[in-house]
Symmetry: C2
Subunit: 257 residues, 2 copies
Amino acid sequence: MDDNEKYGEWFGDLSSFLPGVSIDCVIIGFDLNELNILLLKWKEGGHWMLPGGFVHKDEDMDHAASRILEERTGIRLPYLKQFHTFGDLDRRANVPLFNPVTPLGAQFKEMFDWLEQRFISLGYLSLVDMRSSVPAPDLLSETCIWKPLKSIPDLIYDHNLIANKALEQIRNQINYLPIGISLLPEKFTMKQLQILYEEILQKKVDRANFQKKMLKLGFLDRHEKQLTGGAHKAPFLYAFNREKYNLLLEKGIGYMS
Amino acid sequence: MDDNEKYGEWFGDLSSFLPGVSIDCVIIGFDLNELNILLLKWKEGGHWMLPGGFVHKDEDMDHAASRILEERTGIRLPYLKQFHTFGDLDRRANVPLFNPVTPLGAQFKEMFDWLEQRFISLGYLSLVDMRSSVPAPDLLSETCIWKPLKSIPDLIYDHNLIANKALEQIRNQINYLPIGISLLPEKFTMKQLQILYEEILQKKVDRANFQKKMLKLGFLDRHEKQLTGGAHKAPFLYAFNREKYNLLLEKGIGYMS
DNA sequence: TATCTATTGTGTGCAACTTACACATTAAAT
DNA sequence: ATTTAATGTGTAAGTTGCACACAATAGATA
C-alpha cells in the first residue's frame, strides 16, 4: 500500500464527517518530575498542534474524542472529559494546514478546501500515565511527542489558548479530578505525589503537612519500602485504594489551597 | 406586516446560520423566595423548551448567546457563560418541532427540513435579576415564563439534561460565580441572601454564622434599615461593593461547605 | 564496625476557622 | 407597657492549617 492509498483510507470520505466540528485533545502526562503535554508536528510547514480530529456523522462526541486519543497514545480508557468549546470566528487565523503548491498540498486539494470552512472545536482534557502510552503520529504528522509544559512551543490556530484553558481547569478543579490516580504509576512514593501537586499548583507545599493530609484522607494503601534510594531512610511505596478514592472524589480530594 | 412576513424576517435566510450548531440558554432568576428558570412553550405541540437559537456564520458564539438572551429577557449584559456542549447522536429524540400536516408546519417546510439534521448545542448559563427582566416569547412560542426550579416540566430533546447540568455547575462553582450580585436586586436583606444560598445548596445554613461570614468577607455595604417588616427588629439592607467583590471573586466567595 | 549524611515519618504548638447555641436588641402588634 | 418574632452579636468547644522540631533509617564513608 503506498502513501496515497494510506492517506485516502485514513481520511476516508470527508462527507462522513460532521462539517465544521472538530475535537482537540489536551493530553497531560507526568514523568515523575514534571508535567508534559502530547503534541504533534505537522509535515506541511512544521506547525506544532494539539492532537485532534473530526467527528463521524454517526458518532457521539465523547466516542470521537476517545477514538482520537487511543489513536495517538494507544491508551484505551483514560480520564477524558470535555472542558470547553472554542467557537470564535477568528480562532483559526490564516495558517493553512496545506500549501497547495507543495506536492502533499496539491494532492489533498479536496481536504484543503474542506478545512477552509469555519470550525467549532470541542476541547477535551485527558490525564494519562505517560509510561504506559505509546505516542504515534498520524500520517500527516512528522512526530508525536511529549513536551514539558514549561516549554510548549507556538501552536497553530488557537491551540495555545486551548492548552492554557485546560491547564487552568486542572488547577481550578484539582480537588475534583483524579489527579494522582491518572497521572502516576500503580505504586509511587509520597515525594512523587507531592511533586505532582507542586507542578500543578506551581508552588511549594509543606512536605510534613502534605504527607499527613494525604494519609488522613484514607485512600492510600501503604506497601513495602523502596530500597533503591540513596544514603538515607527509604520511602514507603503507596497505591490508590480505588474504592475509597472514588467515594471521596466527588467531595473533593487533596491539597487544596 | 402579517405573520408570514414576520416569520420570514425573523428566521432570515437559513443559509446565514451555521448548520448543525445551536445554543441553548439556562437562564436562572431568583424571586427572593426560590430559584426560577426561564422557559418557552412552543406553539406547535405545546412542548416546553429552553430558550435557544442559532449562530450566524459571521458571529462569535458568545455574541450569539448574548443576542439570544437579550431577545428573551431584554437584559443586555448579564452574567453569561458557556458551561457544556451537548453533542450526543441521540440527543434530539424524535420530537419534531414542526408537524408538516398543521398549517404552521406546512408553511415552514424548509425550516422543518433544516432542523432535522444533527445538531451540536452549546449550553450557556445565565444568572439574572428576575425583576429587571421582561420575558418575551419568540414568534413560534406561545409563552416565555419563569418556572420554579422545583417544578420544571418535561422539556423537549435533552433539555432537562442540559438544565440539570447547569444546576450542577451552579452548585459546584457556587464560590466562583457572581451569585448574589447577579440574582439579587441592588439592595437586599441578609435573610434574602441566605435564602438564595440555601436554595442553591439545597440545605439549611446557620443564620448567625452565615451573617458573620458574609460580613467578614468585606464586600457588603450596609445601608439604612428597612422598616416595613413585622412585629420584630427591622433588618439592615445590604448592597454589593462591586470593587471589593470583583477582587475576591477569583479566590472564591461565600458560604462553601 | 562506627559514624555521618540525606531524606522520610511523625509530633507539637499556635492561629484561624467552623459549628452550635446563647443572649441582647428592636419594630410592630397587642 | 408588654409581648412577639426576627435580627445582630458573643462565646466556647472542636477542627483544621501551618510552621517547624525531632526521631528514624538506608546507604556512604572511614
